[in-house]
Amino acid sequence: MDCIRKKVKEEVERGRTGSDHGCPYHPSHFIGQDCTFCFCPFYPCEDARFGKFIESRRGRDVWDCSDCLFIHRSEVAGFVLDEIRRTGFEECGDERMDEIFSDAKEKFWRRGRALMVLGATSDAGKSVTVAALCRVLHRRGFVTAPFKSQNMSLNSKVTRTGSEIAMIQALQAQAAGLKNTDYHMNPILMKPKGDMVSQVVVEGKPFADYDVSSYYSEFVPGPGREAVKRNIDFLLDRYDVVVMEGAGSPAEINIYDSDIANMQAAVIADAYCLLVVNAEWGGSFAYALGTVELIPENDRKRIKGIIINNVRGDTGKMRSGADELERMLGIPVIGIVPHADVKLPSEDSESFRNSRTVGTGSMRIAVVKFPRISNFTDLDPLFLEDTAVVFADRPEEFDGADAIVLPGTKNTISDLEWMKENGIAAKILSMKGKVPIIGLCGGYQMMGSLLSDPKGIEDGRPSETQGLGFFDNVTSWERYEKCVRQERGKIIATGGEVTGYEIHMGGTEVRERPLFSIEGFSGNADEGSVREDEMLFGTYLHGVFDTQDFRRYFLSFVKGGHNAPESVDYNEYVDWNLDKLADVFEEALDMDKVMEIIGAVR
């Protein structure tokens, strides 16, 4: 405690620092945060709206401030600094500090407001709308967080606390300028395992497996609802605005009462809602009208605006229909948004399913399109390079490929069998040594010599499967245990940087030269496998292509070499696209109306 007091004294003497970009940890919470008090004068405040007790490594309770944004708001930091200076730091005993704390809370703390974005269909454009609103609000100075109760997702990311959340919420958090993304923003994640069974991840940790009916009858009314409430409360205590995303359509009247992802979440958060419809397939007015009118009246009142999204060509041609819709429903159409030509990682299954080839570059990268493919957004950064990425599910589609990627899968063993049966495995084996081949996560496991699942953990039935034999590695599933980790390290061959995260079941006994050296608490650890002379690469790291260093390293093995275009940092590229997206929405939406609906006029 004395140590903290000393630090605070230094901070008070130093005065306002604003947002300290010189600090190696900056920004630890959100872009634009105030760093005057890195050490908080109120520590430990024991206010559950800001922090919580956790068990320290030595087993003692310590007060954890890692999710507190309060003292990092500039108006709070300014007020607190002034008050302490007015009193004189030495005179600020605990009591005076307590007074300042309650004054600051009274003046500046209030529960945030929630706005929910509903979609008339899946792929209506809910997630991009949330991302766009997060960025617009962030740019306007609101501390904003995204939220989605439940997500059925094949693309997940690992947060700084080692929790797993949907990729799309992580992207929305990036849009909001947040650096402290965590499971609160997506407390329930469903990962389809096949056969209508999903693994349900709650607050970042695997909870249990459910089929559709047990999910609705057992999980939803109990632990599901609780998790939604707990995490909405958490966010509303800390953020100015929480932009919530619905799931699917809110008007599935057959399951209305057990749907915690839409109107029930809106009720829990006391959120007003915007309804988004996608104009691309036509029928958007019918979808909008039907969705609103099928929602029971009490909940219907929460819908305060309609957005017609993804209009190609002249948006004006929708106006007469929009006016009529307004008259019929008594709800304003607050925006007719043109198709936004932005490149963002997409959860949009439709676009993925339809686009077999992405890009028109000179290097043809063939990605095995496993039936249970997962984390396919891992490949997105490759689109930045001079590539054409083909998602291939027939052997002949690998002809002429300059490189091959075996991506992640929800079921390594079944997808390996699938690939052997349809001839893709043989095809890839025949290309060994001719083009670079990389396996990611599940694909990496397949590249080994043996996959052993004696207890049927991966595939539901015990099995022992021959791998592709590119590596001598043996992967085994011994326990129902999942590895979730965020990592940073170096490519051993070049010293270049690599980042990523691991999410997988099953462990691999590596009998190859390692690909990476990963920084850890207790020294560095090896990761992945490589045989450069045979152009074989394998790693558990998702997001491995995010750093340019690794993309370049891998693509340098492509025949004819790789002539590097301008260097692009993937994160900056995504940010640039988020800004572009926000511009499109800000222009098309009646933002005054949106602010009025949020009620967030500060």
């Binding site: 269909t121 397939w281 036509g282 009208l289 099928l294 929708m318 009529e324």
Partner: protein, 277 residues
């Protein structure tokens, strides 16, 4: 017999459902023809008398065991870039239209009706397909293939909704509600297309839609991973039918779709009553 299949959106599956019903009737010995008043498509088919129709109707004619004829698609709209659209009327190039010089809806509707009447005379059954969604209230008054034909020829109609994207109940109800009152009564039934999972889960939703709208649910079609040639520029499934000649593979696909539909209890009898009504 005549019936009009309308989709709650493009790509809802009305082309395939129409083709399936053509095939179903043809197998029963009914002389059947497909019809789509107007079609926006880049892919056309040359009829034996040198006319041009949308590829979708050519395939549906194949399903009907009928010779593709220009009456089956009297108006074909072919985008030619830069906002220009070439109008093919009764198989022959007719005019280029733009936003400023639109199609004369009166003339087009009259021609469509004449073609439809000719088919009605030559065939026992005409299976009509709508175009896009019939509920585009911003285009009211410009619609020929959906509300236009309903109004001009009182064709009993069936809505096809795609459940894969979700929101199918909203789509069915909303589309029904946005059909002008004068024609709404012609909507007799609906079909839920591309369903995966346990159909009993949908029971309560279907019952409410039947109750609110008076439309009868004819069936739930399962998600069929069949590849059909699609004229719709939106669905680029490619129409891949490996190895076989296109027509026999196409008919085989339709036969297995009919078998699937029957297995799932699709009510062909009720559909027949609608078409005869």
């Amino acid at each position: 017999m005549r019936v009009l299949f309308l989709g709650t959106s493009s790509g809802a599956g009305k082309t395939t459902v129409s083709a399936m019903y053509c095939r179903y009737l043809a197998r029963k010995g009914v002389r059947v023809a497909p019809f789509k008043a107007s079609n926006l498509s880049l892919n056309s088919y040359a009829t034996s008398d040198g006319g041009e129709i949308g590829i979708g109707q050519a395939f549906q004619a194949m399903a009907s065991g009928a010779v593709p004829a220009t009456d089956m698609n009297p108006i074909l709209l072919k985008p030619s870039g830069n906002g220009r659209i070439q109008v093919v009327l009764n198989g022959m190039p007719y005019a280029d239209i733009t936003d400023d010089t639109p199609l004369d809806i009166g003339i087009a509707t009259a021609e469509a009706c004449k073609a439809y009447d000719r088919l009605r005379e030559r065939f026992d059954a005409v299976v009509c397909e709508g175009s896009g969604s019939p509920a585009e209230i911003n285009l009211r008054g410009r619609d020929i293939a959906n509300v236009g034909m309903m109004r001009e020829r009182n064709i009993p109609s069936v809505l096809v909704g795609d459940i894969e994207r979700g929101g199918v109940f909203a789509a069915l109800y909303g589309t029904w509600k946005l059909i002008p009152e004068g024609q709404r009564g012609l909507l007799k039934g609906f079909i839920i297309n591309r369903f995966r999972g346990d159909p009993t889960m949908l029971g309560s939703g279907i019952a409410s839609i039947e109750e609110i709208t008076g439309m009868k649910c004819l069936g739930i079609l399962p998600y069929a991973d069949l590849r059909f040639p699609e004229e719709d520029s939106l669905s680029n499934s490619g129409g891949r039918m490996s190895g076989k000649d296109a027509s026999s593979a196409y008919l085989e696909n339709l036969d297995s779709l009919i078998a699937e539909a029957e297995r799932c209890g699709f009510d062909f009898e009720a559909l027949k009553r609608i078409a005869e009504g």
